[in-house]
Symmetry: C3
Subunit: 311 residues, 3 copies
């Protein structure tokens, strides 16, 4: 087989839009190969800097444990109260400082565009671990990888994206990732939480998209439901939050009409939208996503630091 | 010598009650053997997840440094303000997430039973690093190990447990650990802080226990005094706390009548119950406990991950 | 070449005053040698404990990444809210505990003298990472190293120390470090922020010092300007802070009259005293300091733990 050039070597991972189908194919191929070799020592002399300027559990821990599984090291910028941000340091200086100490920076920030800006001022690769309400590229990669793993394909699948489509950054990144394939997309949300119109128009150029207000009408068609948490901290108006939370939920009653092989995904954390009782159904695959998160991030880190991987 | 089966291999460490004398003998034997080999690389490819959902210094740091001394790695769930708990994630999801990233979880939590619950839902071993006001099994192991090291035996020793016997979880775990031996136990505390009656009744089945209100009357009999901090955060009523704190204290006056080889222990942190001036007496062995904490936890981690240790 | 005895082996780094010119020469010589060997595995079995009881970014991260670059490990005492300090533990017990778990302690504390005290009670080396408003020895070492690197020498240079000279601990440590050389020192600050008089008198014994209120008058003489942040948290009186902040600033207008090879330094973090536009001038060398911070701390750690370094 002709070996492809590694498209991730020494590369910033800022937006999922920077990557196309061949890049994703390459990533997932290496992920399947590298899986059995972990843990290994391939990044023994490399280190990453974790700069999570918004709360995170899964993303931070999975990057840290991914780096551990490759023999590399992590240092953490720390929480806001312990670091120089308290002394009024601007983000740019913090980034340039971290850039001197590590070989790549993992950055989460509340604002759009911060990750792109960081990639422009830093000499080392920047990996966007979530910025604003639009970008979470590594989450999109692991989401598509999980769908491929669970369903064997993405093309022609009926995929519902369900919940908060307005403020959930994983939704936008996933949709742009899916636009490299040919699935049928069902957007399901309460009206005030529908996908923002500009990305919707753009995505409709490449994706077959229909818009719905509830799952009941379409449940029997679906191969995948990707549910998102209604994120309190993304709401400009808390009253709006209180009104819609809890009205959207996956329950056993709904699942009565589901396909036998329906795959339930969720980027986590969840609130009440998928109750614990669903965890014991064969549909529940969201903890497989958690596991895929470590694998995909291990693979990405390996590829960013290794020009010619042996996998 | 016939080699015993490793009773800790792939095992949850939830309650000291799950372990009997032969298990403790095995642990302490390996601890004595492994001591001279540290640091080593035996857990090079293993990692633990630190989930301390209550404040901790010694326990967290000793597990982390124990793992370092075995060549393994730790990742930390982080403090509450930085992680997904702030987004309303339930503990069960947090545990199942960590369970995907590491090979064992070290868990501290304010509630009884959380550690047992975690061991039931997670695939990897759970080590209880303190739960509620009843269980701190690894502390009990290191406490007994220290007594054995300092006194050469536990049987027939006169051991006072002094201070807050009602809310101190180290007290309960230690007493259950000691019930594998034949010491004479003197419980010494102000009335409102006496040992809770149910465990007292249960422990009296296996231990020779007497109850006292002060140390003065019995000081000349004692081989060991295990003092505990009066823990503000364990008191339902702060006025009760203010009334009793400080009334119980080890001082040089008290020690005038002590045996020459009296051993003073304390699980730390301490408040005023053992003033700094006592540190320079030959009785003070509580920093040996700190050191034993790293050794015993190193040994436990080694045994949990190594079916047939070479020690 | 005759090999010198390593003056840092197993040594506390408490005050810059404890080190003389030959010690600094030795350190900088090894730093230049070790630079190309990093990362290496020389401290594979060593660990340090980070006890930052005041906020820090650069110092903490550079020690941690220095230790990583030497194959060693770090554990962190954690922030105040998560550790036993919340339970009322005194610093002495915290230090003695950490002393049992690691091979050296990196300590930052708000009070003068704490680092010396720590070195007296702990068995392992203490490295002062900033104490009170007087001592930050490793910062002084990296500052002098940067001047040597940028200017080729220190002797006979005209060096301005600019900004908050009263409360900035890096200022005092740097001046004492420079007193091993023969530079001309220009102290430039608003009157209420002038160097404290006792150290000024002492430093004048060894250094050629003049005192100024603005840079304009002397800018054309200067080879180095070392600017410091006006540190809000060091002011006893916030009104005094509001009055002077922002009145002292490096700008392009000022630099019109600067020497071609002027070197601008800053220990960072900065506020408004060096605006971002200056970063693109050839004078800006403060990010070289950040980089030197990792190198000098790597070298120091290597020397503290390695009696006979091969460099």
């Amino acid at each position: 087989m002709k070996r492809l050039k590694n498209p991730f070597y020494n590369r910033d991972i800022v937006s999922i839009k920077d990557f196309q189908r061949p890049d994703l194919d390459y990533l997932f191929h290496v992920a399947n190969e590298i899986k059995t070799s972990l843990p290994n020592d391939s990044l023994k002399n490399k280190s990453i800097g974790l700069m999570f300027l918004e709360p995170s559990t899964r993303t931070r821990l999975s990057f840290e444990s991914a780096m551990n599984s490759l023999g590399g090291k992590s240092i953490s910028f720390g929480n806001l109260s312990d670091s120089s941000t308290q002394k009024g340091e601007n983000l740019s200086d913090s980034l340039l400082t971290m850039d001197q100490y590590v070989d790549a920076i993992i950055l989460r920030h509340a604002s759009e565009g911060v990750s792109r800006y960081a990639s422009e001022i830093c000499k080392n690769p920047i990996i966007n671990a979530g910025s604003g309400s639009e970008e979470h590229p590594t989450q999109a990669m692991l989401d598509v990888y999980t769908i491929l793993n669970e369903c064997g394909k993405v093309d022609n699948l009926n995929i519902a994206i369900f919940g908060d489509l307005k403020y959930g950054r994983t939704v936008y990144s996933l949709l742009y990732a899916l636009s490299n394939y040919k699935p049928n997309i069902y957007l399901v949300s309460p009206k005030p939480l529908q996908l923002r119109s500009d990305p919707l128009i753009e995505l409709k150029n490449t994706l077959n998209i229909s818009v719905h207000e509830n799952l009941q009408d379409i449940i029997s068609d679906l191969d995948v439901i990707y549910t998102t948490r209604i994120q309190k901290e993304r709401f400009p108006d808390l009253q709006e939050y209180e009104r819609v939370k809890g009205s959207y939920k996956i329950d056993n009653n709904l699942l009565t009409n589901a396909k036998e092989n329906l795959v339930l995904l969720h980027p986590m954390p969840r609130s009440d939208e998928i109750p614990g009782e669903i965890d014991n159904t064969p549909y529940a695959k969201y903890f497989n996503q958690v596991s895929a998160g470590k694998l995909i991030r291990s693979t990405l880190l390996h590829l960013i630091f290794t020009e010619n991987p042996s996998f």
